[in-house]
Amino acid sequence: MVTTKILKMGWIMELDNPSKGKIIASGIIPFIFLIILVAYIFGPGSDLLNLGVPLPEIIIEKIDFLESEIQVTVRNTGPIPVEVVMADVNDRIQPAAIEPDRFLERYETALVRIPFEWNEAEPYIIGLTVEDGTRFERQVEAAAPALRPNLEFVGLFALIGTYVGIIPVMIGLLWLPFIRKISKQKNHFFFALTVGLLLFLGIDSIEEAFEVVDDHLSGSFNGVLLIATTIVLSFLGLYYASEKLTGKADSLRISKPVAIGLMIAIGIGLHNFGEGLAIGAAVGLGSIAFSTFLIVGFALHNTTEGFAIAAPMSRGKTMIGKLLGLGMIAGTPAIFGAWVGGFAFSPFSSVIFLSIGAGAIFQVIVIVLKWIRDEGDKNLSSASVVSGLAIGMLVMYLTSILV
């Protein structure tokens, strides 16, 4: 309250006297008061705020099952430093090691290593007790050996990424000749279909980000707002960049359809990175058994993404090279995502990537809708557009059931 008042004063001063020094001063004065306020609260005024009892809080972010050992990554997510003093497996006290040490400052992480002969596919609850006797736990549904980034797994994840990312997108691109041969009216239907597909993907990304927040991220990160902020920033950044890109399309010697296709490919690429993360993390955390059925589901689902790129590209000259390039931009991130998710899963970066992907997709939606509107006599409510959008969503929903 005080600071807003001061801010207003500064503003009025600026209006009254526009000399440069005073303008600078009036801009700085609120900051000075803010600093005084903060200094007071941390210094002499700290007693005033000694209300309530700050409770320790730690979160077990990750549990890895190694040979004869369980490794637990723990983060202090509470308002005070804590001391991790005891570990247990299934509520039975176990001796353990903690690296680098048992004292955790706010947001600091440590690795707890519990020697334990665990059994594959059995559920385990890992508990950690802090110095005031409070116990925090996390459950693993089925213990599975942790993935180490050896060549075999790097190759396996690359293969999975190719199956769920690159191949389906490439197949989707094969619709290009078909889209090219149909009338403008029907063409709009397919553009709208693309929008429907993208809309679904965007919502899907957000949902996945929420899941990571719920399962792995501490409340102190404000997960939901982190997602919202990242989406908006990603959207704005890409929107600004794309306006520049499509505006300069001619000078960059690429056509507008290619520019839009590129944008869609990048948006989908970011989404596929998130999808790869989810797959890699799920395998790495042992929360799913990776089945052929799941891969088939993802593949069918992602074929629609290739179509989304093909639709705008159908308006320009067919350039096989560029088309393949866009397909790779959209597809290959799935491989990278699987690597990161499987070998170096971090809930925070996962949320960030998924949210950037969602923002990118919404940005693409706006671009495509704008394009349809410009071409279709300022009309977004034609039967072909509305039905295209609806069918796009439906197709995605139906193929998503397979996943």
Partner: protein, 344 residues
């Protein structure tokens, strides 16, 4: 925008690479309380290794009996006077590194082991220095107004004198009986009251084991169990006894929340006197089951030297601290001459 993609690839490489390269820091090796070996660059968290400032000494408590201030009354009977002070503001390290607000009689959990002979007049000057009301409720035979239930003793120095004739013979618990009762008990307001028979039990190496637990996160489930408060204590510090020496253990189960507790002895069986009220043992066994405040006396002798476990055969309890070791050494005496003479 292509930069974002490249950035993404860059980040993935940065994230993956460190997990491949193994950090080369100096490793230290520890043997843990389960016997397993840990090699680490960090520190060990084990009830054995975490630096401890423990002030309660279970080894001292084990064989410590409080006979009170003794005087003779005009009718020839013995008067035993005790002063018991209740407090409820103490933070104690109940397991290495774990701090808990204990409520205490005379500063410890359990409170002092009060001992008298059948027929003695027991007089307890009770002072409540806590911030809540407390009482002392003895299991045994006494007038209603000495029962420590309806005569709550006020906080901040309230006083009450409990007076009754010691009886019946046996081992009994005493505890605070203020509501909410469970809260007052689980915080530590309990102890043991032993009434010896007039004709004395045979000499023996005598000890007290209060089976207790602590619910440090207040979820009505115990996080720790122990014989005499400190988890795993007698495992790291075995109780030293001798072969062919009669051992007499006064066992009192004060565990709350869990309906039962039990005691299993390795490499031996014991004669069991439920509640200690009879001089003839009821069982010869290596396993008794105890409900809340259920108690008894166990007597046994070891023939062979070595290390013998004793623990709850409810294994959850033993894996949370209720486990110990008797270290039996060769006794050089003929019979039970080393028995602690009691009843002074």
């Amino acid at each position: 925008m292509v930069f974002i993609l490249f950035g993404m690839f860059g980040i993935s490489v940065v994230l993956v690479i460190p997990t491949i390269s193994e950090a080369q820091l100096e490793k230290k090796t520890f043997v843990t309380h389960t016997g397993g070996v840990i090699s680490t660059t960090g520190e060990v968290i084990d009830p054995l290794y975490v630096a401890s400032t423990m002030e309660f000494d279970p080894m001292k408590f084990l064989r410590e009996f409080n006979y009170g201030k003794v005087s003779q009354l005009s009718d020839g009977s013995t008067l035993r006077e005790f002063t018991i002070i209740a407090e409820d503001d103490k933070i104690m390290e109940i397991s290495p590194g774990v701090f808990y607000n204990v409520w205490t009689f005379n500063g410890t959990v359990p409170g002092p082991t009060i001992r008298a002979t059948e027929g003695d007049l027991v007089k307890i000057n009770f002072i409540n220095n806590g911030s809540k009301e407390h009482t002392m409720h003895f299991h045994g035979i006494h007038p209603a107004e000495m029962d420590g239930v309806f005569e709550s003793v006020g906080s901040g120095g309230g006083r009450f004198t409990y007076e009754f004739e010691a009886g019946p013979v046996g081992v009994h618990p005493y505890h605070c009986h203020i509501m909410p009762l469970e809260e007052h008990i689980v915080h530590g307001l309990y102890g043991v009251f032993i009434v010896d028979p007039k004709e004395k039990r045979s000499p023996a190496d005598e000890m007290v084991m209060v089976l207790n637990g602590f619910d440090t996160d207040f979820d009505t489930e115990n996080n720790f169990y122990a014989a005499n408060t400190i988890p795993f204590y007698y495992q790291h510090h075995p109780i030293q006894i001798q072969t062919n020496q009669k051992i007499r253990v006064y066992v009192v189960n004060m565990v709350e929340f869990d309906p039962i507790n039990n005691l299993h002895l390795h490499g031996n069986l014991y004669h069991y006197y439920p509640t200690g009220t009879d001089t003839v043992p009821s069982f010869y066994t290596d396993m008794v089951t105890l409900s809340q405040t259920e108690r008894g006396i166990m007597e046994f002798e070891y023939l062979y030297p070595g290390k013998y476990l004793f623990h709850a055969h409810k294994v959850e309890f033993s894996e949370k601290g209720w486990i110990g070791i008797f270290l039996v050494k060769d006794g050089d005496h003929q019979d039970s001459q080393n028995g602690v003479d009691y009843g002074t």
